[in-house]
């Protein structure tokens, strides 16, 4: 034979070191080049830091009453104070904790269950898929926020209930995406090849197929995270958030939204802005991840 099978095709240059991680690195590099991603990450990072060290950053204790009521923004209270004299800036900072604990947990759980369900639906097909698809379809017809509200009012407004219900409502949506990806994937010949060497169904699903549908799953996770923030904020706006002493953003907006009209705009504006900035940042990240994943 006269072939020299020694040449390697590597995207880009530098064929030498650590070629193994090249693909992932390449995606990462592409994502990092997107300004939307960087801005989104920066905003998210700020909120994460706020959530981790609220008391260090906040100039006042978020529950501290002993300052003047309804003061407009000033050096001492950059976001003003609320109707009981609490520092809105400190409350907004401290409020990051609840949402950044609940929303990611809900998104992760929802994606986890969605992935499992979607994998089973897409791979096993047959009756299981038909039945599950119908259930998923029916779930999609449910208004998410309303069901969340219902669950919270009946089961209590603990963080776990919110996480559970949001995750449960996301599961079918994620499952549908994963199912579609798995349907495409299961037709590929490496799956046939795995069957030919006698791999178990579980092995094929979770060891062979799963890594290859991680792209859409990662995209789905970031997108779901955005929706989770959105949903959790909306739920707490509608009165199904964490109970009041917690400086939760949605409840702050809800408690105060009539204050805009009375001139105490800062009480609503800053927590509302915090929600918007967090959702936008997550969506910017999601958008960037999606663009890069879909391009590759």
């Amino acid at each position: 034979m006269t072939d020299h099978p020694s040449s390697i095709v590597v995207p880009g240059q530098m064929p030498d070191v650590s070629e193994r991680k090249q693909a992932r690195r390449e995606n990462w590099r592409l994502i990092r080049r997107r300004p939307a991603f960087l801005i989104g990450m920066a905003i998210l990072l700020v909120w994460v830091v706020c959530a981790l060290f609220p008391l260090t950053i906040a100039p006042h204790h978020p529950l501290d009453f002993r300052t003047g009521l309804n003061q407009s923004p000033s050096w001492d209270h950059p976001f003003g104070t609320d109707q009981t004299g609490r520092d809105v800036f400190s409350r907004v900072i401290a409020g990051a904790r609840d949402i950044l604990r609940i929303a990611p947990a809900a998104a992760v759980l929802g994606v986890l269950f969605g992935v499992i369900l979607g994998m089973l639906m897409g791979y096993i097909r047959g009756w299981f898929d038909i039945i599950a698809s119908r259930i998923v379809e029916s779930f999609l017809a449910l208004p998410v926020v309303l069901v969340g509200l219902l669950a919270v009012t009946t089961m209590g407004n603990s963080a776990w209930v919110v996480i559970g219900v949001v995750a449960a409502l996301f599961t079918p949506i994620v499952a549908r995406t994963v199912r579609a990806a798995v349907l495409a994937e299961r037709e590929l010949d490496y799956v046939t090849s795995a069957k030919l060497r006698g791999e178990s169904t579980m092995f094929i699903m979770f060891r062979e197929i799963l890594p290859n549908v991680m792209g859409p799953i990662v995209v789905e996770l970031t997108v779901r995270l955005g929706y989770a923030v959105f949903t959790v904020a909306t739920l707490s706006f509608l009165g199904a958030g964490p109970p009041p002493p917690s400086p939760d953003w949605g409840s702050q907006v809800s408690d105060n939204y009539s204050s805009i009209v009375s001139g105490f705009w800062w009480r609503t504006f800053f927590p509302a802005g915090a929600i918007a900035s967090l959702v936008i940042s997550v969506n910017m990240i999601a958008d960037s991840v999606q663009s890069v994943m879909e391009a590759s």
Binding site: M1, T2, D3, H4, P5, S6, S7, I8, V9, V10, P11, E19, R20, Q22, A23, L30, L188, D189, Y190, T192, S193, A194, K195, L196, R197, G198, E199, E208, P211, N212, M214
Partner: protein, 693 residues
């Protein structure tokens, strides 16, 4: 032999009069991630009115870019950096948007690779064809009339009905005819054909090419044809340019270039094709070492130097000149060593392979009897395989050919148990019956039967490293684990000429050829007795295909493995297979030793398949053409399933009675009502003498 300057205005057409297409020192870049990557590096050629010029080369050489640049239709990230494209004397690169629109409407047309995608799926065919006329200024009723006429001209028998259909309701061949009709609407000065038959079945391809050939005579359009199939170029084009890495490395009249190539690349390309009926045991195929440079790669002085058997220091330091051959500036080669072309070594001799043919006392490694496969579609039984009987000897290669939809892949999947065959058939390995489904088969049975798939991108798990892919197969098929398995993987890799470095890469970091090599290594991980190869080289360039075919032959020689080789490429099957089975609508129409099948007499279907192949050797063949498309297996025709398309069908017989598969000569069976000798007479093939039995 003269060296001519190939600067501006270099290769002027020798043909009298202004050229229809004049490409001059065209440089095109694609901007990828902010970096300009060169795709075309000074391409120049001319095409005279009425002349057909072909561009050939492997994927990524820039031939399609050239075609699109000629009509100034580049992707968003592509741009012409220098050079000019003149059509009828006007510079296309300098046109305003309006002028360009007018130019595309009236002067240039294109026929595309994938006709199904080239038409708007949401509009009726008629509307789309009519549009090609209204854009020229015809009124709607006129355009409708002209459209009908245009469809008739491309030999669409029932144009009214076709006009009323949606593109996806037409067969691939019909779709391409419609696209051609649209392209010819404006009587273009320039007609660009971009791989117009790739993806079509050989019989349909032949039809489309016939049509193009006929239409060429009716128009004086200059034709620029892009194809990777050398045979098509040879049969259709007056002249040809061989492209490599964005440059035309050799150019000249088709017959001359193909019969007497004067550039090492052209030589390599031609020798890597299985030609002239050569078989694997006689000679291995030539391969071109290395791989095509990526687009935008920094290239050495001679673009081919890294892969050239003649390369020397001069090649590495000096840009090779354009060497006009025989004083003709249109017959040239871009090589320092045109005079040493003859020194390029011939391919190595073939490998010896012992075939143990099955006999009464020696059962074949694989035996299939009464194998059928019926799919269910909305409560309809769709018989995809009907009563297939096969035997495979040790070390034997059985080629399976047929159009798409003939049941080739179904047969492979039934053998492997991926889609279990219907109950009632018998599938035996080494004389022992095995269950129809792979999940019920024993580990040993699984190990004995493995598969190499058509598309290595699909066949290899892209998130696994090569090592993991191979190790898993080794462990799963042989039970060897841990360090021992790893050792085996390394041995296997070495056997398949994969370096240890490849083992730690992911499939996407490998070239197509290497990927297929990994896939083959995986199939061989458990020392299989039979490997089913489903079009393993159809996605590969010819030079890479050659290497894979050589490898398969080597492995067979060493391991005495049997192959079931599914392909649509008659050249490949002739090179590799010991016997050939021809499938049509899930039924074996003909099965016999390779030489007998190729030499005939044949079943009329085989005859049609064989005559559809455009030969790079320029052989003239009796052509028989098939009408229409392969019918749906859900409603097979009565009688002989082939009779509606059979040019030799005998009414009253073929449409009523299904012929049996009858042995017409030793090991050669056929399913046809026409007697064997009659077929021989019809096909002008002398019958084998009786004492050959």
């Amino acid at each position: 032999m003269t060296i001519v300057d190939m600067g501006h205005g270099g290769a002027r057409s020798a043909t009298a009069g202004a050229p229809a297409l004049e490409v001059d020192d065209l440089n095109v870049v694609y901007t990828v991630r902010g970096i300009d990557r060169e795709v075309l590096r000074g391409v120049s050629f001319t095409v005279a009115p009425g002349e057909a010029f072909g561009l050939v080369g492997e994927s990524g050489c820039g031939k399609s870019t050239t075609a699109y640049a000629a009509l100034r239709y580049l992707p968003r990230n592509g741009k012409i950096v220098s050079g000019s494209v003149r059509v009828g004397g006007r510079d296309v690169t300098a046109m305003s948007d309006a002028a360009l629109q007018e130019f595309r409407a009236r002067e240039a047309s294109m026929v595309y690779q994938d006709p199904a995608q080239a038409m708007n799926p949401t509009l009726r065919v008629g509307k789309q064809v009519v549009e090609a006329f209204t854009v020229l200024g015809h009124s709607a009723p006129d355009a409708a009339k002209l459209a009908l006429e245009a469809l008739r001209k491309v030999r669409i028998a029932d144009p009214e009905r076709v006009m009323d259909r949606y593109p996806f309701q037409l067969s691939g061949g019909m779709q391409q005819r419609v696209v051609i009709a649209m392209a010819l609407a404006c009587h273009p000065k320039l007609l660009v054909l971009d791989e117009p038959t790739t993806g079509l079945d050989a019989t349909v391809e032949a039809e489309v090419l016939d049509l193009v050939r006929v239409l060429r005579q009716e128009t004086d359009a200059a034709v620029l044809m892009i194809a990777h199939n050398l045979g098509i170029i040879r049969s259709l084009c007056d002249r040809v340019g061989v492209m490599y890495a964005g440059k035309i490395v050799e150019q000249g009249p088709s017959a001359e270039v193909f019969d007497s190539p004067q550039h090492p690349y052209t030589v390599g390309l031609l020798r890597s094709l299985p030609r002239h009926g050569v078989r694997k045991t006689e000679r291995s195929l030539a391969t071109i070492p290395g791989i095509l440079p990526l687009i935008g790669a920094h290239l050495p002085t001679c673009v081919f130097v890294d892969r050239c058997p003649l390369a020397d220091d001069k090649c590495r330091t000096e840009v090779p000149p354009v060497v006009a051959l025989e004083g003709d500036p249109n017959r040239f080669s871009r090589c320092h060593h045109v005079d040493r072309i003859a020194d390029i070594p011939e391919p190595e001799p073939g490998v010896p392979i012992t075939v143990l043919s099955p006999s009464a006392d020696q059962p074949g490694v694989l035996e299939l009897s009464h194998i059928s496969k019926t799919f269910r579609q909305r409560n309809h039984a769709v018989p995809a395989l009907v009563d297939v009987e096969l035997e495979l000897g040790e070390g034997e290669t059985l080629g399976i050919v047929g159009e798409s939809g003939s049941g080739k892949s179904t047969l492979a999947r039934a053998m492997l148990g991926i889609d279990a065959a219907d109950a009632g058939g018998v599938l035996a390995l080494n004389g022992t019956q095995v269950p129809p489904s792979t999940t019920e088969r024993s580990a040993d049975d699984k190990r004995a039967l493995q598969m190499v798939f058509q598309n290595p991108d699909s066949a290899l798990n892209r998130s696994w490293s090569v090592r993991r892919i191979l190790a898993r197969s080794v462990t799963k098929l042989t039970g060897v684990k841990g360090a021992a398995a790893n050792k085996r993987v390394e041995a296997l890799a070495a056997h398949l000429r994969l370096t240890p470095r490849h083992l730690d890469l992911k499939p996407r970091q490998l070239s197509g050829g290497l990927k297929q090599r990994v896939a083959i290594a995986r199939a061989f991980a458990g020392d299989p007795r039979i490997v089913v190869c489903d079009e393993p080289t159809s996605a590969l360039d010819v030079s890479v295909q050659a290497a894979i075919l050589n490898l398969l032959a080597d492995l067979q020689s060493a391991e005495r493995t049997s192959y079931v080789f599914i392909t649509h490429d008659m050249g490949v099957v002739r090179y590799l297979a010991d016997r050939i089975a021809v499938l049509y609508l899930g039924r074996i129409q003909e099965i016999g030793p390779t030489n007998e099948v190729f030499n005939g007499p044949n079943h009329p279907y085989t005859e049609a398949l064989l005559s559809a192949i455009p030969s790079v050797d320029g052989e003239e063949k009796t052509r028989i053409r098939l009408e229409g498309e392969i019918p749906s297996p859900a409603n097979p025709p009565s009688g002989c399933v082939f009779h509606p398309r059979c040019p030799r069908a005998m009414p009253g017989v073929c449409d009523t009675t299904e012929p049996q598969l009858v042995e017409v000569a030793a090991g050669h069976s056929m399913r046809c009502h026409i007697p064997f000798d009659e077929l021989g007479r019809l096909q002008g093939v002398p019958l084998p003498t009786p004492n050959d039995d």
